[in-house]
């Protein structure tokens, strides 16, 4: 957490300095998923250190906004934690943009509870029943007799959409489910709420207890080999294929380098092989 804060401060400060620096000859603007955000920021920090004349800005406003920015042409790289929908691809085509997909890492969505919660694991079906309101108390899962505080990401996030497609199986969430605006906020809520359950990316597990899903613990290996049931790729989208030799090309291919893989692992995600 502290590292993320430090990183983002560095990015912000460097960004500011660069904004005043008239000699900055190349600029990369990134927008989109809060899940991909930590990777993007670390990449930006690393790349700007190596190439001081490049200015990289990272905004985090949700996967939907990432797609929107690519379609509108307001960013160079759209970070997304879900693939582009066909409707988004269509409106990109309509506005003359050819979005190119780069899978940069794998992410598992971990189901988290308060550290004092005795629960060990759930099945996907149980998880679905918790979120659609059929299971209301921890007692029904063999825990203490207290109401489950169900916390979800807001419907604006890629994490929500991934969870909805991979767990909910077209069923609707119960009306009592609480929605929060970021992965960090879910972690914060679960950390301070004894009876809470939530779901976050693998980078947000500090301090909370993650549960087994279908008897598989979320980890780098289980996510990479896809035995963990709720895992997904993370994407960066560019407008067309970046030209070889440009900063954009070098930057977008960072994830394939050893250094890039190390950064991805450091931020808590799983690098591609």
């Amino acid at each position: 957490m502290r590292k993320t804060i430090r990183n983002s401060t560095i990015v912000a400060v460097t960004g500011l300095l660069m904004a005043f620096n008239a000699t900055a000859d190349d600029k990369i603007v990134m927008d989109g998923s809060t899940t991909v955000g930590p990777i993007a920021k670390s990449f930006a920090e690393y790349y700007m250190k190596a190439n001081p004349n490049v200015n990289i800005t990272v905004s985090e406003s949700g996967s939907g906004n990432g797609a929107k920015s690519i379609i509108n042409g307001t960013c160079d790289i759209g970070n997304m934690s879900r693939p582009m929908k066909s409707s988004e691809k269509k409106s990109a085509k309509d506005s003359g943009v050819m979005p190119i997909e780069h899978i940069i890492a794998m992410d598992g969505i971990a189901v988290i509870v308060h550290p004092s919660n005795p629960a060990k694991g759930l099945t996907v079906a149980q998880l679905r029943d918790i979120y659609n309101g059929k299971i209301k108390s921890w007692k029904e899962l063999g825990g203490p007799d207290s109401k489950i505080v169900v916390i979800s990401r807001d419907t604006n996030s890629g994490t929500y959409e991934t969870f909805e497609t991979m767990v909910m199986n077209k069923e609707k969430m119960a009306s009592g489910v609480e929605y929060v605006g970021s992965n960090g906020a879910i972690r914060q809520r679960v950390l301070s709420t004894e009876n809470a359950i939530g779901y976050v990316g693998l980078a947000f597990l500090e301090g909370v207890k993650s549960l087994e899903v279908n008897n598989v613990m979320p980890s780098e290996d289980t996510v990479r080999n896809k035995t963990y049931p709720i895992s997904r790729p993370l994407y960066m989208y560019t407008k067309g294929r970046p030209k070889e030799g440009t900063h954009l090309f070098n930057f977008i291919n960072l994830y394939n380098t050893t250094e890039g893989k190390k950064i991805i692992a450091d931020t808590g995600f799983v690098p591609m092989n």
Binding site: G62, I71, N72, E88, D154, N156, E164, K170, S175, T193
Partner: protein
């Protein structure tokens, strides 16, 4: 005065035709510019209404009014979306009501205290401090509500509620009992009055104590499962609305004037009687305006409710259960905007404008009422 000076004055006083014309043009342009600047702010409101309505109408055209205003099923992102906003309207309502219950009694008592009870020097210090509350950014309130207040409510919710209840009701009961005893023993003959007062005091005090303990035990046993709920935001929003209520109603109380207060004292009224029966009624329309302004502050607030209300679009059972999470119009608009607007033309995008339009209409109505009340007061004071 020599002749040349005389001539100079004459020249300036009786203007030539040409100068007159120029002056006229200048006056008109000046007035025109001022008029344009003033009407710009009015135009902004009109433009906002126009553009929001323009994007809201397609929603009502395609989905009709019924589902939006009567259903509680809010699933804007699913494959067959449902846009029932009743629970969200309810959430806005209950949170506003709750914050009114916090802000109004506190705000009016504080205003009375500032204007009629505290010495002038203390008021000069206290009022600016209360007004600082309005300068704190709402995200800071939201952060406090989410990180400090919500866990506090979860861990010691019942205890906090009990203490708060006692702090509020013990003085209230004490005042009520004193007044009740005074009123009831008024007609009794002198030699019996003392005894009657004692008996009544013991009976009423005992009942009050019993009620207080009973209610305290009940509140203590409450378990708040989720700290991000309607109660949490009601209290925080109440505190946020406080400076508006205090400031405006204090101004109203101040404008009542010395002569009314002195007249009341001259007729033999005590300070409490003067405040309750003369000053507050005289300032009542100003206080009402303060209350409505405070309510509008609470309705329009976004960041705090988005962070700390839980955002669950449900009508709690029973409806007055403030310990359940709720979702408000403002939070829904803020939270859903990002995903919705790249697919322009979709109902999911337009429904947010329908909500914005409803909010705008509600606050315009509130504003008109306030305006009405304030004009009425002015008329009353001047007549």
């Amino acid at each position: 005065m020599n002749s040349s000076e005389k001539k100079h004055y004459a020249k300036n006083l009786v203007l030539e035709k040409k100068t007159q014309k120029i002056n006229k043009v200048l006056t008109t342009t000046g007035t025109g510019i001022l008029f344009i600047v003033t009407s710009l702010s009015t135009l902004v409101i009109l433009f906002m209404l126009f553009f929001i309505a323009r994007d809201a109408l397609p929603f009502f055209k395609s989905q009709g009014f019924r589902e939006f205003f009567t259903s509680t099923k809010w699933y804007p992102s699913s494959d067959n979306p449902e846009f029932g906003a009743l629970a969200i309207f309810f959430g806005t309502g209950i949170v506003t009501l709750g914050s009114t219950f916090v802000a109004v009694p506190l705000g009016i008592s504080a205003a009375v205290c500032l204007s009629d009870i505290l010495p002038f020097s203390a008021r000069q210090v206290t009022k600016p401090v209360i007004e600082i509350l309005a300068a704190i950014p709402s995200v800071a309130y939201g952060f406090f509500a989410l990180v400090v207040f919500a866990p506090l409510l979860q861990n010691n919710g019942g205890y906090i509620l009990k203490i708060a209840f006692w702090v509020i009701s013990i003085p209230l009961f004490a005042i009520l009992i004193t007044v009740a005893i005074d009123v009831m023993t008024d007609k009794i003959e002198n030699h019996l009055r003392m005894a009657a007062r004692w008996i009544l005091g013991i009976v009423l005090g005992g009942t009050a104590l019993f009620l207080l303990i009973k209610a305290g035990l009940f509140l203590d046993s409450l378990k708040i499962t989720s700290g991000t709920n309607a109660l949490n935001v009601s209290i925080i929003l109440g505190i946020m609305a406080l400076p508006t209520v205090v400031s405006v109603s204090e101004d109203a109380l101040q404008s009542v004037g010395r002569e009314l207060r002195e007249g009341s004292y001259a007729l033999g009224a005590t300070r409490a009687e003067t405040i309750l029966l003369t000053v507050i009624p005289a300032a009542s329309s100003g206080i009402a305006a303060a209350v409505i302004l405070g309510i509008m502050r609470a309705i329009g607030e976004t960041m705090v409710v988005w962070m700390a209300s839980g955002n669950a679009s449900q009508i709690p059972v029973p409806w007055y259960n403030l310990l359940e999470p709720v979702r408000t119009l403002t939070a829904t608009i803020a939270g859903d905007m990002g995903e919705a607007d790249h697919v322009t033309g979709s109902a999911r995008y337009h429904v947010l404008f329908a909500m914005a339009l409803s909010l705008l209409v509600i606050s315009l109505i509130c504003n008109l009422i306030t305006e009405r009340i304030i004009t009425n007061t002015r008329r009353k004071i001047s007549s």
